[in-house]
Amino acid sequence: MAAGRADLAFVWLFGPAIVFALVALVAVAWTIADDDAWGPVERRGAAVVQSATCARCHPDEHASWRRTYHRTMTQEARGDALLAPFAGERLDYLGFEATMDRDDEGRPRIRIVERSGGGEAAPIVDARVVMTVGSHRYQQYLAAIDRGGGAGEIWRLPVAWHVGEGRWIHLNGAFLEPEGTIGAADDYLRHLSRWNDNCVLCHNTEPRPGARADGRFETALGEIGIACEACHGPAEAHIERHRSPLRRVLAAAIEGRAHAADPSIAAPSGLTGARASEVCGRCHGNRIARDLGAVLRDGDGFLPGEELAAVSRPIFADSTLGDPPEAPFGERFWPDGTPRLSAYEYQGLLLSPCHQGGAEGGLGCGDCHSMHRADPAMQVREDRRGAAACRGCHDEAAIPAGHGGHGESVTCLECHMPRITYGLVQGMITHRIASPDPGALVGRDDQPDACTLCHVDRSRAWAAAAMAGLGLRGSAPGPEREAEAWGSRTMLDLLGGDPIQRVLAADALARPRATMEPRSRIAWLVGALEDEYPAVRLAATRAIRENARQSGDRALQEAIAAFDFLGPVDARLVVVDRLRELVGPGPLDAHPERLEALAAAQERQLIWIGE
C-alpha cells in the first residue's frame, strides 16, 4: 500500500520531466537525422524577408548594420532621411536656378527654371522628391517623372546636397566632365538619369528593374537600401529552416560553427576570401553583365556565395564591349592598369599581390573590412586599423614597423595604398596594394606615385634616389623630362595633369603631412580655382581651406570662405585675385612659358567620366 502511494508520488513528481526528456530525445534524434534541417537548400528564387525579420535572431548584427551608410544608401524622402534643409535654398548654376523647398504638406520638392526666362519660362524640372540616394558624402534626390517610360519611371535629379560642404551642388561638379555651356539644358540635365535601370541595382537589396519590352518599368525592391540580404542573399529558405527551435539549439553541436556551414544562407565571414570578396565586388567593382537584358528585367542574377563571374565580368582597362569589340574603359585606369576611380576597389584587390590570385589564404575584402562592428565611415574592422591592416600576414619580425625609413608615424597604407583614386569628389586610397617605385615613373606624366604625394615639393628622381639611400628596392630612374628638372611632381600634376591628376594633386596639398608650409601650398593651389572642371575647383577649395586653417591666417580663411566653386566666373575671379594678394605669386608666375606649356598639356587631356 505504502509502496503504491510512493510510486504515485514518484510518477507525479518525476513523470512530466521523464516524458519531456523522452520526447526531447526522440525529437533531437529526428532533427539530427533530418536532411532538410542540415542539407543543401535551394536559395535561388527565395523571397526576401527584409532586415526586420533578421533582427529577431541577429539583433547585434542588425544593430551594427543599422549604423552603416549602406543602410541609408536609398531611403524614402521623409523625416531624418533628408539631409538637406529644403527650406527654399537656391542654386544658380550654368544659367539655371534650382529651388529646393517643400509643398503644403511638407514634402520636399525641387524646381529648376532657366534664369534668362525671367521667371516666366516653364520649369525644366518641377518634381516632388520621393527617395534619397546616399548619406555619407553627398545625398542625391529621386523623383517620379514620366519622361516617356510611364508612371513607374524614377529619375535622379541633377542637384545634390554635399554633406561635408553643407551646401547644394550640381552633379556636373561631382563627375569628371567639362562644365558645359551656360543656358544649355542638355548640359544642365546631363545627370538627370533614370534610377530604374541605373542606381537601383547597387543601391538597394535584391532590386528588380522590371524593364518591359514596351520601354516601361515595373521596378520592385526586395528592401530599400543595402540591407542584410544584399550580402547574405534572400533569406526565405533560411528562415523556414530555422523556425525549428531544436534545429537552432543543435546548430552548435552539429555544425560546430553553424553560421559558417549553414547552407541555407551565405555568410561572407564563412566563405573563402576570394568568394567573400565577390559579394563586395558585386557593387564595389564596376562590371559588365553577361546578359544585360536579363539584368534590366530581373536584376543582376548574382547570389551571394556563388560565383560572380557566372553573371558578369569586372571591367579592366582592356575590357571590351560590342562587336567589333571596343575598349572604352581605358581612361578609368592608370597606364599600369590600376583603377583610378572609386567603385573599382574589387579590381584593385584582384590586381594586388596580396590577393594571391584568389588562392586560399590570399587577401580578401573581409581581412580589413566588415559590415558589422566596424567604423561606419569606411567599414574598417576595429582590429585592422593602421598598421594592423597588414600585420595579419606581415609580422613585425619579417617587416619591422618603419622599415621605409619614415618612422612609425607613416603607416603601411600611406606608401602601399596611396591616394591615387578619385571618387565622390575627392581623392581616395587605391585598393591595389603595391610597393612605391617612383624610379619607374621618372620621365612620365601619366601616373602619380606614393612618394611625391607626400613629398609634394620633390621630383620623382629625388624620390628614387631617396629610396636607394634608405636601402629600399626600386627601379633605376630613366631620363627626366625637361619639366621634371624645374617642377615637383605634384606641381606638374596640379598645373598640367589631367583632371584626375589635378584633383589628386590638390588632395595631396590638403594633407597636413605634406611637405611645404601652408601658405606656399595655397600659392600653388590658387590657379586650380580657375579650372574648367568644377570637381578640380572643389578639390582646390577644400585644400586651400585646410591650409588656411593650418596657417591660422584669418584673412586667408575669410577669402576662401567667399569662393563658390559653382558660382559665376566673375565672382570666382574676385576671390582668386584676393588670394593672390594674400599669398603672393604662383609658383610659375616668373616663367609664363612654363605655365603655358602646362596649360596646353591640360587641354590635351580632356576626359569625360560620368557614371
Binding site: M1, A2, R5, A6, L8, A9, F10, W12, L13, F14, G15, P16, A17, F20, A21, A24, V28, C57, H58, P59, D60, H242, P245, R248, V249, L250, A251, A252, A253, E255, R257, A258, H259, D262
Partner: protein, 143 residues
Amino acid sequence: MTAERHIRASLALVAAFLATGLWLEAMYGLRAEGWIDDAIRREFLRLGHSHGALLGLLNLGLAWALERLQTPAAWARRIRPAALTGALSVGLGFIAGGLWHGPTDPGPPILLVPLGALLLLTSTVALALVRPGDLAPPGSEQG
C-alpha cells in the same frame, strides 16, 4: 533525503550560483574576450547565475514549507530531490547552454532548463496540494 540534507544542499546551491556571479563580475571587469563581446553567452550565463541562486533560495523555502505543512514522508522524500535536481538543472542548463552556443541560440544543454522547470513545478504543486494525511497511513513519519 532528510530535511537537514535538503537545507544544506539548498544552501550549497545558493553558494555555488552566487560564486558564478563573482566569476561573471570578474570577466566583466577584466573585459574578458568571449564574454563581453558575446551577447548570447553573456545573457545565458547571467540567466544561469540568477536562476540557480534564486531556485536555491526557493529550495530553502520548500524545505521550510515541507516541515511547516507536515507533508507526508512518502511525498517529502521525493519532493526534496526533485526540487533540488530541478534547480540544479535550470541553473546548469542556462550556463552550459550559454558556454556552448550556436550563432543565434544556446546550445543543446539548454534542454535541461525545461526539464528542471518541470521538476520544480511538480514539486511546488505537490507541496501545495498534498495534506498531512494524504496518501500516507495515519501516524506515519512526517517529512
